[in-house]
Symmetry: D2
């Protein structure tokens, strides 16, 4: 039996809770999972959420979760600013840590976390759920089997519109204390896909911009926006692939887009997270008059789709990605295998984000390492 | 606390199990759910599945599940041929019944089930999950608000390809004892949507066909196929809408298609279950030069999407529909509300299916009632 | 040199004029085309249009066009009611006739036209342009090469929205003198595709409906609508294929949709005239994990695309279909070859339309012949 | 009457010929167009093409076309290397010049052409046909009416696959004498759209790459590729918009893609040349639960679509864009109006291309002017 602690019950906290409740029924091969202890900002909220999510105990103090001897794994789903303190405490208490991304506001803090994880003997990972979809695993398999030949170019875009309303008031997301903007909010996701499919980024040339230079604050006066909603980077990967990476959190109409275009010597692969049960593939080896992008609906022959539904084309949902991640994490803990991004890998992703920011500031190409 | 029994652990059995494991975490407002007792064909399988799905007890005899005093609700997910016997036994034992569709091979049996349910004082429903998606609920809301005016025509198609391989051997699905073919396999689904969105079908004119008249059986000899993989019907609804209904289980490339076209006096609505997180809408009231089908990605303002994900456009999965259904069922039990198709409604759907078959046989229009 | 006469200068008249102006430049292998004589309702309009379209002579009397000894071919593009008289006169005058579809309001008139053409020794064809696209020719080639195996089912829909506005006043299109409604306006087009790809329809079972039973006429009083904007038919083809045919001229949002679904024993073909530079194909022979509908963009290897553009995927337009038709017509005249629907074939299409109307009236299956 | 000369009869030569044959029939308001004189590399080819394209005279020497006193306008459709000499000669002979893009291999030559045009008193334009589509004109109108508010970001991609085959032999396109590669082949097209919709580019930061560093030449030995099939640039426009520009002529499966994403403060516009009869628009002002990208099919209310077809959604083709361009050119000559890119505007486009190349070479941001 594995005892689970959960800190935080917002978007990602609930997503973890659903995963912990379902992983066993979906995969059927996990150790018994026991929902032991839930932590929130106060006892009342903690009690309520523990009831909803099925946790046995609840505390208004997150340290109680970490100190609970029945807890083996701690899900950390609080805002970024708290990740380091909680992860370090959990590791120090001998717990495995499943921390939401990104790691921490500064690179130094992320380094500290990676170092702590490396020395802990425990498994500390980050919640990069988009790498878990059957589609991405299918793409990875296509690449490994050389189906589109040697990849030579890559374009990847991540766009949403939650900051697109210029009339919305100045918020903490517009303050420099929140980070760079779209770069740390979003860029880590496409970078997690690049990391998973291709490996490391070697060089970046980044440009950032602000759709709204000024916003009205709560009192009605106006205040200069300090963060960048849009970032675009030319990139080179260590494997020689060139490409570009785009993030925009003010892109009206985009809700969860992560559009990927992978160009190879024998074909092209397309993917969009807004339709993440589909992958498109063009093969130059198809008979000439029959060539075209084929739209592959995910199906049982695209693992682990079949664990969810035995019929093809019926579709997984966003929460299912976290269930897969949870299963991979349990595999990593049990066997050392498991397709997850641990703190060490996560540090490489954050290193790239910070290199992008530096590139924008200096207006030149930056080597990531 | 509500005690759950589950009979059957195949495609739908697992789907129920996942729903029972998750419904509380997703909705947060259900009574406590206790996974009490799982029944399968033998003790060994029952034990294994109980372990995977988190049920406390396991039996190789389904009657033990029904007789278990801790069980309040019985999920019946076995093949159709067993539905009547199990549902009747469960109702007789004072349990609520959640039975997979369709009700039973013959209309007489379905009538018997509906009658038993009506007299039981318990809540007996059918697993018509496609009516539960935020998209269908959104469409229902658009219709109720008269957004596309008065509906005048409807086309609905359900296609998959699991019988499309003509080289596949003769199977039980090709025997008349399995029913009519695609008509009972599939037609109930689009009919559940019609029932949910518009009400009853009044008249039908149906034509069925066999893509493969003969198949090879296991011993290598050939045998005439007795069921119809394809059925098409002209339909009239009680509300005056005309339309057509199409089912094809030999449609290569279709994996889970349920394509709906609803034509109204002020606009058109389109939907396809293969992309069930999207609804398309055309409004004649849009400014002329700006008219076009808009693709609406499901979002928190399309309930109950927000219970799963607070961010728009991130997507629900097939299993999430069953979680919603489970929640609606629990609401129905608790309050009498809840958007479900009970045995009485289900009987109307099956009545329509049998009318279609009769229409094909007699080659004429048939009044459903 | 071939001398061309044109009667009518509306939608189709202009389309013919553009084709006659361009066919030589596009195909490069036609006899010299001379735009000799244009006929319209009055001299002033005829003069103006002759100037625009590049015709040497103009008459306010269509008989002058037919009587012109320099005219070898007459394009008849006037409303249906005039087709018979003009075509017969032209044939009697020893001219080839290129007549817009459908042939004539009644079947008897169409028969008369076909008979006259058969006895004339001249080439009389109908303007079924949709059969001319590289996409349809490509589909025909796929079918002939057995790429999707034996076809077993067919669905075909033609929808536009020019009658969708219920507030629009009562018009001649709502009068029974205009014909059945969508059936003769539209059904001939999908039937021309069926004829071109598969051959004859043997049996039909049709249902028609009126989205608006009553419309306001010019004086403000209300008048019962006499024609049907919607028609749906179950169909059987002579080659054994079952299917359905749908037409709707009140389908909001549809502008030029002709959606075709062809199901075969080894694959499926999809097409939509609104994106007529694309064909979709699913092949069951593709590697299992790589199966999906491929979207083929028309290209030089889909003749006669390359006559228009040597680069793939650049797209033909609606008028280009008429240019191809013109070229096929000239080939038919010169060599007896040429992919066109002559009056004899056209009569079969109209026979089917009238059988549909009869089926609706009698509410039963009708044998076309 | 306007007399037309045509030099060159390849892809673009034929495209001009079709436009000259059709422009009058399509628009009906042009001066009479006389196809006077066609020039090709030798008399035989010239004679043959003059016959096909309907030109009265033919010469194996292009100077005869320019010297022909009946010729008022010269279409120059030969390879880039000849543009300058021919354009200058034509202008010197007092002819209007319609020259295919790009202007010339070097910026100095382009400058010379622009200067000659400015001093000629004649109208010299470039064949940037993509700016002519009803879709682009519609987008321009949306931008001018502020429908998506203030534009803040732009992404534009142009991809084809005619260089994607790594097994294809070394060709003149791989030699540095052919230019930079995709940059001059393709980048001028998206730049013409940017120029038409937004104005000038101010700064660029470009990165180029080679999918295949080496190709086999005809004799079987291997030779280093000197040009770049892929170029990506960060861009800033003079109006303050940030964005990126991508070109790839080795993108398997892309046939004529020019994908445009325009992000504004009140909405987003999407366009793809492979489906250039459609524009997508997202409006933040739509009712929240009804928001989504709407797909607008081009129609008579998107001028000049209606000149081609009076029915919506029937589609224009690639050659129709040149007919529109021809009409705009005739308007420019007649009235000084007309939406065309003259040599002066074209020079700005080429200035940007050369700045991109310089940016790649120096690995830094370059100011265009």
């Amino acid at each position: 039996m594995i005892g689970v602690g959960l800190i935080g019950t917002g978007f990602m906290g609930k997503c973890h809770a659903i995963a912990w409740n379902s992983v066993q029924a979906v995969f059927g091969d996990t150790p018994g999972v026991q929902l032991v202890h839930l932590g929130e900002m106060n006892q009342e909220l903690a009690d309520r959420k523990a009831g909803e999510f099925g946790f046995a105990k609840a505390s208004g103090d997150w340290r109680s979760v970490i100190d609970d001897p029945q807890v083996d794994i701690v899900s950390v789903t609080t805002p970024n600013a708290f990740h380091k303190e909680m992860a370090l405490a959990a590791l120090a208490a001998g717990k495995h840590v499943w921390c939401e991304k990104p790691m921490a506001p500064t690179f130094a803090e992320a380094q500290e976390m990676a170092k702590a994880a490396a020395h802990s003997g425990k498994v500390a990972i980050l919640g990069y759920n988009y790498i878990q979809s059957p589609a991405i695993r299918h793409i990875k398999s296509l690449l490994e089997k050389n189906v589109i030949g040697i990849v030579n170019h890559l374009r990847i875009e991540m766009d949403e519109d939650f900051m697109a309303d210029g009339e919305a008031p100045f918020s903490w997301r517009n303050e420099v204390s929140a980070g760079y903007g779209a770069l740390d909010d979003f860029a880590v996701h496409p970078l997690s896909l690049i990391h998973s499919l291709f490996g490391r980024v070697s060089r970046v040339m980044c440009d950032m911009s602000k759709p709204y230079a000024v916003r009205q604050n709560a009192e009605g006066s106006r205040r200069a926006v300090e963060t960048y909603d849009i970032a675009t980077a030319l990139i080179h990967l260590e494997n020689g692939v060139s490409g570009s990476l785009h993030v925009n959190r003010s892109a009206w109409g985009r809700k969860g887009r992560i559009a990927v275009q992978i160009f190879g010597s024998k074909g092209t692969i397309l993917f969009d997270q807004e339709r993440f049960n589909e992958v498109q593939l063009y093969l130059s080896s198809d008979e000439p008059a029959l060539q075209g992008f084929r739209t592959m609906l995910m199906a049982p022959n695209h693992a682990p789709y079949g664990q969810f539904v035995p019929a093809p084309g019926h579709g997984l949902g966003f929460n299912d990605l976290k269930i897969i991640e949870c299963h991979e994490y349990l595999r990593r803990i049990a066997t050392g295998e498991g397709n997850v991004i641990d703190f060490g890998d996560g540090l490489e992703i954050e290193r790239t984000v910070h290199a992008m920011a530096k590139s924008h500031a200096s207006q030149r190409w930056i080597d990531v390492r």
